[in-house]
Symmetry: C2
Subunit: 272 residues, 2 copies
């Protein structure tokens, strides 16, 4: 086991640094990491404080920390590069090849990636989040403004998926729970039929569904394996028959589910 401290350092939110670092570190096995996010490093004092923290971690670990740096300001970035960790610098490594590719020089400006440089986009995602909240769990059955309508049995993961698509992609995502009443029919509930090109099914293994429901309502019929099996089988059969695309959420992350849905429905919204 390798004991290491990893720093994610930025003059903005540090979200890019951490995303980059996580992706790269997944390619290494048996790492035992202590991770430290340090956002908003925008003064000499803060940069020097981080350098001292890196030194302390190096001493404690007996190994050089890994430092993912996305500070744009050259003076502050130089201070970070003076630390006794191994510094991997997003802008330092990528800007030159990108300048060549674009045939132009860059204009340094800090922390733009996750800042509100685009107020229209900001309002768009807040509106999408409000939409998801007010069109959750079949609360409203007019889905004419929805871009995506998730259908699935209760507790299959529809709400978090809708909220994720709204907050991170600005997508207006509604959801509708298939109830026992709906599942007695072999066809889609009638009012959903007119939205066919926006529908996406979320399914889940009955055993997993049982666990989730058991946490909510222990010992209930709702949480019984028999009921979960019946609902999942009926919902999957209905969605297959109606040719609604479907993803099994049991072994997928929210990001995978959301990306898959947007890709399959051809929705090209920008990630925030």
């Amino acid at each position: 086991m390798h004991h290491r401290t990893v720093f994610y350092i930025s003059d903005g939110t540090a979200i890019t640094a951490e995303t980059l670092g996580h992706s790269l570190l997944t390619q290494f096995e048996d790492l035992q990491l202590r991770q430290r996010r340090v956002p908003f490093v925008d003064t000499v004092e803060k940069a020097e404080k981080v350098v001292a923290e890196v030194a302390a971690a190096a001493a404690a670990d007996g190994q050089a920390p890994i430092v993912f740096n996305t500070i744009v300001n050259e003076e502050l970035s130089a201070i970070i590069h003076g630390c006794n960790g191994k510094v991997l610098d997003l802008f330092g490594i990528f800007l030159k090849p990108l300048e060549q590719a674009l045939g132009m020089r860059h204009t340094p400006s800090k922390g733009k990636a996750h800042s509100m440089h685009d107020a229209v986009n900001y309002e768009h995602r807040i509106a999408a989040t409000n939409y998801a909240l007010s069109h959750d769990d079949g609360v409203r059955t007019s889905f004419s403004e929805a871009e995506v309508i998730l259908v699935g049995v209760s507790r299959s993961g529809k709400t978090p998926t809708c909220l994720y698509m709204a907050l991170n992609f600005g997508v207006r995502a509604a959801n509708y729970p298939l109830t026992d009443d709906d599942l007695e029919d072999t066809r889609l509930p009638e009012f959903l039929r007119k939205y066919r090109n926006k529908l996406y099914g979320l399914t889940i293994d009955p055993e997993r569904l049982m666990q989730i429901r058991e946490n909510r309502r222990p010992g209930s019929k709702y949480a019984s394996l028999a009921q979960c099996r019946f609902e999942v089988a009926a919902a999957e059969a209905m969605l297959q028959r109606e040719k609604v695309p479907m993803i099994n959420a049991t072994h997928a992350s929210i990001e995978e589910i959301a990306s898959r849905i947007l890709n399959d429905l051809g929705i090209q919204k920008q990630l925030f």
Copy 2:
């Protein structure tokens, strides 16, 4: 204006590729970009289809597209590198220096960054999202399990911020709206006082608040500038007096607000 097409290509969700690309491209001004996310490129056929799309974009733009590639598989990645765009490769550029820093070789495995390789984390963020939903807008006033409690006037942005912290960081975030009744007092509502170390204030410019409320309830007293000014001034005075840290959401993104809050409260949760 530079007209360019940018591709974000991955064998996973493409979230890392897009995050990286956005950050880098913010450093260039006056770019006019058409952005195309291509996730789940995990077969030779799909890789060849992307290469054809890049060629079509190159022909349409009269300029080479920029291609951010995070495909791990070497065979598929080589196909992407054969396209006629300018390929910037996350793993190609960063893995070598990271191997040197860690003193070990990497073990290629695709799409791990946003996949469910950690089911415990997954359940944690779903639980956090359910927590945020059930502790929204002062619905429950027992906040003993909260890690963060946002306080602020109605429509200052508390709900989206809580949901973002829950979904993206797995933080249990509750929120409480300061009402007229609360604001008649100069002190914090009594039941909030015992949670003092978890409290964070969200404020907003009265003019902006008026716009938001006007969209909700046009012509109401609630949406009037006088009412917005009164509430914001009273809330800010209360929070300052009670030494509750505070951020103005008017010109900040959700990411900035969330990162600032977690940083100020010393909450070191991993970004998903």
